[in-house]
């Protein structure tokens, strides 16, 4: 079986020297990584852990979490991984519920979460002294510290990396449990079996056309299903290489990310739409980044990819985006739009691969094509259930069909378009946020009477979270006070983008907050697509008369190099025409940078908003 083969090849065979992870410039080979895997496996086995026992993981460091996660998955232990930055109360509740036999945590978390180390095998992660390491090496002095079996990664130094009587875990054992967003009283731990996992990883490998030459660039968090499964797990399965460039994604690093496509011979870039939107916006001069011999396509996942962004991005960068739809409950993906012409249709999530879908109406009847209803998925990769939450499981899993909670329309060819959401969830830049979870935290503040969180459309992040709060003492509770309070309690992705204060909420007869009424008070952001389209059409119209070319042949990614007839004189003709048409006057610096449609549009927008 593949896990066995992978381990053997890595420890002794042809993969030994091959780079598995390239983490912010530091390279780890298959040999090194999987020998650490074998060591950790030996450690857990020696502590009496058996297949199916749960190991709780919450540590910093990409290498460490990848190592421990893969150790569990390959050895048959169940990994329960939780972001160390998560709200303490919630983490504590989840930890208690998990009943793990072993845990690997950041040292400070034991105290923070109040964990009794004696009740289970506990490894605490302590930073080893980096300074003087070289000096020690030079002196070849044997470590003076006694070998500490409870501190990681020091423990790696005393373990054997031999793989004793390895047998692949049984398909029905739980590979991992991932806690998706949820309230404290109602945590949802998604249980994925070994069968689910490998069935889906095989699907991904096939649908993306990956092999051992594949080099994936995926900068998503390893505590995110899309980060871990379409990261180290998929990479190891393909025997390729995973590249992570930056610890955290920032706008100033976009150039580095784009440059790395060529530099690191990336074949697949895995990114959420929010990252693609930022790349699209701040990439001037880097439009040729994907024109490398190795690059295949971009994989957009975790959130809804706007049609406008999709088209614009593909035109600008002359590359292909594959839009993936999936849930944590389906390991990672399910429907794919773009890897082949048959699957591809812009604006949709494409077609299911290795699974079935159907669209049901409210009363559970299958709907014909082009009618909106809830999307259901059935396949080998659909999860087993929520951990210790039969009620929640029963709600979404019936007869092997997973109720996705998303509203969708399927066309005659079978392409599925996601049209809305039934479940109350907000996806901020690829991260699922339960508004209730955030409200719950806000409500713990002593000065808050009640609060509601609402999702609002956002051009970059897809959606953003707005917190509406009624304070008991409005004079004392300001935005900053509440923000400071929330920062300690919430992960960064779950922080509300804005906080609005109300005297009282509009309420219905049953005392329920009327969200629709509430939303009216701050006005939902309009979809900016239409306005943008009109401005572009007008620019193209004028450009076509200046350059004497067909307006239909022009795209936003065109510039003075790509348009025939866009010479310096025609350029000025266009500038003058734009000035007349929009009744404005451009500055010298502006005219000089207007050598592509994108910057013309940006400058015009600035002028129009000033007017």
């Amino acid at each position: 079986m593949h896990t066995e083969e992978l381990l053997h090849k890595s420890l002794t065979g042809e993969l030994k020297k091959k780079v598995f992870l390239d983490l912010v410039g530091k390279q780890h080979t298959y040999g090194d990584f999987f020998s650490d895997v074998a060591k950790m496996r030996n450690l857990f086995l020696s502590k009496g852990l058996k297949e199916g026992d749960k190991i709780f993981l919450s540590i910093e460091g990409d290498y460490d979490i990848a190592l421990l996660f893969l150790t569990c998955v390959l050895s048959g232990f169940t990994a329960v991984s939780l972001d160390p930055h998560i709200n303490g109360n919630r983490a504590k509740a989840i930890f208690e519920q998990a009943e793990a036999k072993a845990c690997v945590l950041e040292d400070h978390l034991f105290e923070k979460w109040g964990i009794d180390k004696s009740s289970l095998f506990a490894l605490s992660k302590k930073e080893t002294q980096k300074k003087g390491a070289l000096f020690k090496k030079l002196l070849k002095s044997s470590s003076s510290e006694p070998a500490d079996e409870s501190s990681y990664p020091a423990v790696l130094g005393i373990l054997e990396n031999t793989l004793t009587d390895y047998h692949p875990p049984s398909p029905d054992s739980i590979a991992y449990i991932l806690f998706t967003s949820g309230t404290t009283s109602d945590p949802k731990g998604v249980m994925i079996t070994q069968r689910n996992l490998w069935a889906h990883i095989t699907t991904l490998k096939n649908v993306y056309g990956m092999d051992d030459t594949t080099r994936i660039l995926n900068n998503l968090s390893f505590y995110h299903a899309d980060g871990m499964m379409e990261g180290p797990v998929l990479t190891a399965f393909c025997q390729g290489t995973l590249v992570r460039l930056v610890k955290k994604f920032e706008i100033s690093l976009i150039a580095d990310i784009l440059a790395s496509i060529y530099k690191h011979r990336i074949s697949h870039l895995i990114a959420p739409p929010s990252m693609l939107a930022l790349i699209n916006k701040f990439s001037e001069g880097y439009e040729d980044s994907f024109q490398t011999p190795d690059f295949k396509f971009i994989i957009s996942l975790s959130a809804h990819l706007e049609e406008h962004l999709w088209q614009n991005f593909e035109q600008t960068f002359k590359t292909k985006i594959v839009n993936v739809y999936g849930l944590t409950e389906t390991v990672s993906g399910s429907l794919f739009s773009g890897t082949s012409d048959e699957l591809r249709k812009i604006g949709t999530v494409g077609k299911p691969v290795d699974c079935e879908v159907k669209v049901l109406d409210e009363s559970g009847n299958a709907l014909p094509a082009n009618q909106e209803g809830e999307l259901l998925i059935k396949g080998d990769h659909v999860f087993k259930g929520y951990y210790k939450n039969q009620e929640a499981t029963d709600k979404v899993l019936k007869d092997g069909w997973l109720y996705s909670g998303d509203l969708a329309v399927q066309d005659e060819q079978g392409h599925v378009k996601i049209t809305g959401r039934k479940k109350n969830i907000i996806i901020v830049g690829g991260f699922n946020v339960h508004p209730e979870e955030v409200s719950e935290v806000i409500n713990t503040h002593p000065l808050v009477l009640e609060s509601v969180c609402v999702g609002v459309k956002d051009t970059v992040f897809g959606e953003k979270l707005i917190a509406c709060v009624v304070a008991s003492d409005p004079a004392k509770l300001t935005k900053n006070v509440l923000r400071a309070f929330l920062t300690e309690q919430l992960e960064i992705n779950k922080m509300p983008a804005d906080i609005l204060f109300y005297k009282e909420f509009p309420k219905g007869l049953a005392g329920k907050v009327q969200l629709k009424e509430l939303e009216k008070t701050f006005g939902k952001d309009q979809a900016p697509d239409q306005v943008q389209q009109d401005l572009q059409q007008e620019i193209f119209r004028l450009a076509s008369s200046s350059f004497k070319v067909d307006a239909n042949g022009l795209t936003m990614s065109d510039n003075s190099q790509t348009v025939n007839g866009w010479d310096s004189m025609a350029h000025l003709h266009l500038v003058t025409q734009l000035e007349e048409r929009f009744n404005t006057r451009f500055g010298a610096a502006e005219i000089m940078v207007m050598n592509n449609f994108k910057s013309i549009e940006d400058i015009l927008k600035k002028h129009l908003s000033n007017a």
Binding site: A255, D567, S568, A589
Partner: protein, 376 residues
């Protein structure tokens, strides 16, 4: 030629070390080797380059008023450039007419200042800017490559067999162009052909061969040196902009200027033509000034000014014609307009180059008389 071979010799350790040393050392390596090279062959140029680099970097970085800073930098750099172009440098240094590479690095600095004004510069520090101006492959002979591209390539560079091979191929092509085509075929053999024609009494033909030979040689030599520079840059993992794009295939004079010495003509378009246009809103003025600078870049003489004026007139005439009804009417009758476009453009260019190839007015006048059949 000799100097270019020395550049090549300095580039051998530079290229080898650039792949052997870690990424963070790259900038310092480039600066160091170029400093050694300039220190050895042109210390005066090293001094000017270092001072102007520090000046332009700090003025643009710490000024609160970017437009003023840009103007100050451009004026100072351009003045230094003109000072040496006018030969005033001879009063200070006798050995060389011009500090090595000043035509190129002055224009690169002005490019940098203008991009700073447009706020289009990528994030960088002093060593990046130094490395850009101290980039050995293009230091002496261009192309006037651009800072954002340089930064991009610096981020992207990786070892690549085929890219390295491409670089070596370009260097080889460059030397073949300069030595075989330029020095041997066009200069030596072409010269012999010309002498033979003249000796046999074919005065018109020999003059025609001579003027074509002049421009062909200018092109092939310069393109050859550009090839060497581009090839060297490729072996270091940098893709420097092209300088020529088969200029004699141009179908009109405007097209010609997009194919001939591209790094300079685009420079003039971006940093002379557009600024002058945006201020005056008159494209004739824009074209006039860009051709003026283009002429002065080569040499400050009346011959280059005349040459530039001819091109200004040519370009404007072409633009008027291009938008006129005459063109539409003519195109109904002309067979193979592309051929005729190329034919006319080529000869326009050849004739204009007579203005700069002649040693004095008398000789130029004589050449024109012969070519147009007035010579008796």
């Amino acid at each position: 030629m000799e100097l270019q071979v020395f550049v090549l010799l300095f580039c051998i350790p530079l290229v080898a070390l650039s792949w052997a040393l870690p990424e963070s050392w790259q900038r310092y390596l480039g600066i160091l080797i170029t400093t050694l090279f300039l220190g050895l062959y042109a210390p005066e140029s090293l001094l000017i380059l270092t001072l102007t680099t520090l000046f332009s970097y700090y003025v643009l970085k710490y000024s609160t008023h970017i437009a003023a800073a840009m103007i100050v930098v451009c004026v100072v750099i351009f003045s230094v450039f003109v000072f040496f172009k006018l030969g005033l440098g001879k009063t200070i240094w006798i050995e060389r007419l011009l500090p090595l590479g000043i035509s190129y690095y002055s224009f690169r600095q002005i490019h940098y200042a203008m991009e700073a004004y447009k706020r289009k510069l990528p994030a960088h520090d002093l060593k990046d800017y130094f490395a850009y101006l101290f980039f050995l492959p293009t230091l002496l002979i261009g192309p006037i490559h651009r800072f954002p591209e340089f930064m991009k390539d610096g981020r992207r560079r990786r070892w690549d067999n085929s890219l390295f091979s491409e670089g070596l191929e370009r260097i080889l092509y460059g030397f073949v162009k300069v030595i075989v085509l330029g020095n041997y075929l066009i200069s030596a053999r072409g010269g012999a052909l010309m002498d033979m024609l003249e000796a046999n009494g074919y005065l018109w033909l020999s003059t025609y061969v001579d003027v074509v030979r002049y421009i062909a040689n200018s092109y092939i030599q310069f393109a050859g040196f550009s090839d060497i520079a581009i090839g060297l840059a490729l072996t270091m993992g940098y893709r420097v902009m092209e300088n020529f794009d088969s200029p004699f295939r141009a179908t009109d004079i405007s097209d010609f200027w997009q194919r001939w010495h591209i790094s300079l003509s685009t420079w003039c378009r971006e940093y002379v033509y557009f600024p002058f246009y945006s201020v005056t809103r008159n494209y004739y003025i824009g074209i006039f000034f860009s051709m003026l600078i283009l002429a002065l870049w080569h040499d400050i003489t009346w011959q280059y000014l005349a040459w530039a004026s001819v091109h200004v007139i040519g370009i404007n005439t072409w633009h008027i014609y291009h938008r006129s009804a005459l063109r539409v009417a003519l195109h109904r009758f002309i067979i193979a307009p592309v051929f005729w476009g190329r034919f006319i453009t080529f000869h326009f260019v050849v004739l204009s180059f007579v203005l700069i190839s002649g040693k004095n007015g008398e000789e130029i006048w004589r050449t024109f008389k012969i070519l147009f059949g007035f010579h008796v």
